[in-house]
Symmetry: C2
């Protein structure tokens, strides 16, 4: 029982205005007199006109669509960030096209190009797969989160401060050896700051430390295998020492914690663990895990604020594009729970 | 450095064809002679025409957009289901507009109405907030997953079989008392089948059992408080009995498991736990948790298959809408891990 849609032509013929005038009513109503606005508004009611947004998109170029490109939904940090970005719908009204790249660069590129063909207004990119230089060339507002961001605006946690906080906490817990586990991170990635902050504190206080920079995979099975190996190596190398371990994120900290619990029935006194992110798993773990908290909801909201300002600018008659990308840095918050003294 | 977009008018004036002919080239090319198709194709190359999908949407009504309405991203089952649905992009090419309703019915309704105004082609609805009768009235292809589905097509796990599997496993573990925890579920919800399956096995084998049907909230804090209370109550009521507990999902099973570990340093012999879903947390828990596994990837793919068939039908010249909603049922798979004997 589809009722036929009322078109601009129908409204024009009913009111006696031209189709151009009807279009102006929808897209620039102030260019009409109040009296004429009222006539058209009345006609819409009479004709039971239902707005067809696709028509408006074509007329105005405003789709209200924003793309979100995340690396995966396995890492709890990404699903929580997605959650917080989606929640901005209530504030901004943008609707989100979501894609999980899973490190397949070709498919991610194809997806983004499709989104652009649909005239999306902007993108939030968490996936590190496509270089920021290439993203910038798409010529659409983009905000990156926790990824290489030389050519695009971004919102990141102050990772250097995070590394400082983690090392300082482990120092106060009087660990004999401080260990930071992380991936093979490019020095252009925000996460690289964590390594610098961690090392700076260790060197400043002349604390023994080891960096273990290795790829421990993107799936649970890969993570578990890699972290099991890591734990055996540490056990062999530092058997009686008090080991303070700064893991790259809460998901991986949880895997290590479980391996230790399965072996010892508790977190042994020779281990201190601190994660990164304050994602939900840090509280859902067998014992609540200390973590360098990213303010995920603040980051999500700042990213949308930055993006929406750029998208609004584009709608002006003479938009002034950003001269330089804007990089916002959000302070991390150290959260002490039960895996550190 | 925006280059001006080439329009149908430009192509028309370059080739000498009418705009209608150009439009036919894009939407019904076989209505033109091969020679004329070639002329237009050559012109597109010359003019460096870039397809504008919004224009095509308006011409063809095909947006390639599908809405996904999930209740939240806190429950690991939903984020994994979302993950699997997004992954179907590679197979079907549909792009997903994602919304997390968080039980706010008004906002969910507004969001869905906006999506419809954008001519999305279909929806996958996991959120139980809006009754299927209302969803069906939107007159757009919809597939529900694990929600009330009287008036819409759906893909669900065979919940009754899941309840049977859980009770049977706990029976074999020679528990003294079988307990099923679940929410206050409507009997129209697929999850209600679990309760029936569980009770039928208990009665068939004359096993003592208790149903605890109570709302334990949608956030970690609410869950933890509720399950802590629950554990204290069971401890008091059945102190020395071997308790076989069938939790409503793996997220809640994990909370119970952690409470017991924090109290006893292990899973005591007087407890057997089985979850539901086989979502990632069941493996990421302190000890791998037994669970009635939903085949999440199978469900996601079946849902897209069902939806895409309905969306394709709509594009035919004389579409034949479904006479009755189709309900697909997917078998659960019992996964025995370390929380049951």
């Amino acid at each position: 029982m589809k009722s036929k849609k009322v078109t601009f032509a129908d409204i024009a013929s009913y009111t006696g205005f031209s189709k151009t005038t009807i279009s102006r009513y929808f897209n620039n109503p102030d260019s009409l007199t109040l009296e004429n606005q009222q006539k058209i508004a009345d006609a819409l009611v009479k004709l039971d006109y239902k707005e067809n947004k696709v028509g408006r998109i074509l007329a105005s170029g405003k789709t209200e669509f924003v793309g979100i490109i995340i690396p995966n939904l396995y890492m709890h940090y990404y699903s929580e960030m997605l959650n917080q970005i989606l929640a901005t719908y209530e504030t901004y009204g943008y609707k989100f096209l979501v894609f999980a790249g899973n490190a397949k660069a070709d498919i991610e590129r194809k997806y983004i190009e499709e989104l652009l063909a649909y005239n999306i207004e902007g993108m939030i990119v968490l996936s590190p797969t496509i270089p920021s230089k290439e993203l910038a060339s798409y010529n659409v507002p983009i905000v990156g989160i926790e990824r290489e961001d030389q050519y695009i605006s971004s919102v990141n946690t102050d990772n250097y401060m995070g590394g400082v906080q983690a090392a300082s906490l482990l120092r106060k817990s009087s660990c004999d050896i401080l260990i930071h586990v992380n991936g093979k991170i490019q020095d252009t990635s925000p996460a690289f700051g964590r390594i610098r902050g961690f090392v700076d504190i260790c060197e400043e206080y002349q604390l023994p430390y080891e960096l273990i920079l290795t790829d421990i995979g993107n799936t649970f099975d890969e993570n578990r295998a890699g972290i099991l190996q890591l734990e055996e190596r540490l056990e062999k190398k530092y058997p009686d020492k008090k080991k303070g371990i700064f893991m790259p994120n809460d998901t991986h900290a949880n895997v290590l914690l479980n391996i230790l619990f399965q072996k010892y029935g508790k977190l042994p006194d020779t281990y201190q663990i601190i994660g990164f992110d304050n994602s939900p798993i840090s509280r859902e773990a067998v014992i609540p895990t200390s973590t360098v908290g990213q303010q995920i909801s603040v980051i999500a909201n700042e990213a949308m604020k930055l993006l929406s300002a750029q998208m609004e600018e584009r709608k002006k008659r003479r938009p002034e594009p950003l001269k330089e990308p804007i990089h916002k840095v959000i302070a991390p918050i150290l959260i002490r729970r039960d895996t550190t003294a």
